[in-house]
């Protein structure tokens, strides 16, 4: 084999080695949301969700793909009455829309360790473009993805009817995530 071919093969192998697939470690991972209730922060959490990140290369993330699925029915706002209320058709409508998804295949590095994933969020039967900023910290075969963003609940028809004016339950919801990932191959 000619030396330049060996070099090219070497570059290819090393490039593939640094672009890895990542799977979520559910136990330490958190997906939280903070609504406002009578002008006071009302935190909640989605207890079940999953994150997959494919072909992610920290230096060159363009080819990567991010997929998040959220079991909406695992939402917990720490209060029995509230948890019963958010199941209903005016809020999350568990019966018809038990799952939300976010898919992004446009991931850019905006600064060292900081990224922006542009994709589509499907929630309560509606699809909207969404930009998700996140930080990335990697060590050995584990990584932490962390970020937060605002979601306007009415874009997804959450809190309709008499709740839509946003006076008692605010319109903006802060979403925060801290995801632990493990390298798979």
């Amino acid at each position: 084999m000619r030396p330049e071919w060996v070099l090219a093969l070497g570059v290819l192998v090393s490039a593939q080695a640094s672009a890895a697939d990542w799977k979520m470690d559910p136990a330490p991972s958190r997906l939280e949301f903070v609504a406002t209730f009578e002008k006071t922060a009302a935190p909640g959490v989605f207890k079940e969700f999953d994150t997959r990140l494919e072909r992610f290369e920290p230096e060159k993330p363009e080819a990567a793909k991010l997929d998040v699925t959220v079991k909406v029915t695992s939402a917990d706002m720490k209060n029995g009455d509230v948890n019963r209320a958010i199941r209903g058709p005016e809020w999350f409508d568990f019966a018809r829309f038990p799952q939300a998804e976010f898919h992004a295949d446009d991931i850019r590095r905006v600064a060292p360790g900081r990224y922006l994933a542009r994709g589509v969020l499907s929630l309560k039967g509606m699809k909207k473009d969404l930009e998700v900023p996140f930080t990335w910290q990697e060590s050995a075969n584990a990584a932490t993805m962390e970020g937060e963003l605002n979601v306007e609940r009415l874009q997804f028809g959450i809190g309709t009817g008499e709740w839509a004016d946003g006076k008692t339950i605010g319109l903006g919801v802060r979403v925060k995530f801290n995801v632990r990932l493990r390298k798979v191959g």
Partner: protein, 184 residues
């Protein structure tokens, strides 16, 4: 004029008495309305009013208790029998205790239920108990029982005041009224 005299209540004691009386009068129907209303924005608003009023009553009662301890109350008419004096002391003590315990038990309900709440939409109220559904149920039972007790003692209190005024024809009721209301 602010302080009590041996014969009559001072301005501050009257202010506390009637302000708390009016707040309690509003608070009881407000509480029932909030608890019984169907889940809607109005229900949440009613609860903010009820809880805020409760915290206001609690704050006023604590200051009032301090004032009551610092400033001796006017005496009862000299011919008042011993059992009546004891009954008066006991019912006044109970009213103070209940007007403080009711908002406290409400605060426990709100804390155990983990409901975010800001007093009059302004001041976030910290929890005084960890989220716990069993404690929430217990505190609700206590809140309602204390309310029943308050209504009973209030009936005695109002009845006794009217008896002093209408039957015994002394100034025990009049001396708690604002002076502008034509007390000699």
């Amino acid at each position: 004029m602010i302080a009590n005299t041996p014969e009559s209540w001072g301005g501050l004691a009257k202010f506390f008495h009637w302000t708390v009386a009016l707040l309690i009068l509003a608070q009881i129907p407000l509480g029932f309305a909030a608890a019984l209303w169907r889940l809607s924005p109005l229900k949440l608003e009613l609860f903010v009013w009820h809880k805020s009023t409760g915290m206001l009553i609690l704050a006023l009662m604590l200051v009032r208790l301090g004032w009551r301890l610092a400033n001796p109350a006017p005496g009862l008419p000299p011919q008042t029998p011993c059992w009546e004096r004891r009954a008066a002391h006991a019912s006044h003590g109970l009213l103070y205790a209940l007007a403080i315990a009711l908002p406290l038990s409400g605060w426990v309900i709100n804390s155990a239920a983990a409901v975010p709440f800001s007093v009059f939409w302004l001041v976030p109220l910290p929890p005084i108990a960890a989220p716990d559904e069993r404690l929430e149920d217990l505190a609700k039972l206590a809140h309602f029982s204390l309310l029943v007790a308050l209504c009973l003692v209030l009936a005695v209190h109002i009845g006794a005041a009217l008896r002093h005024h209408l039957i015994k024809r002394n100034d025990v009721l009049l001396r708690m009224l604002p002076r502008a209301w034509g007390r000699p």
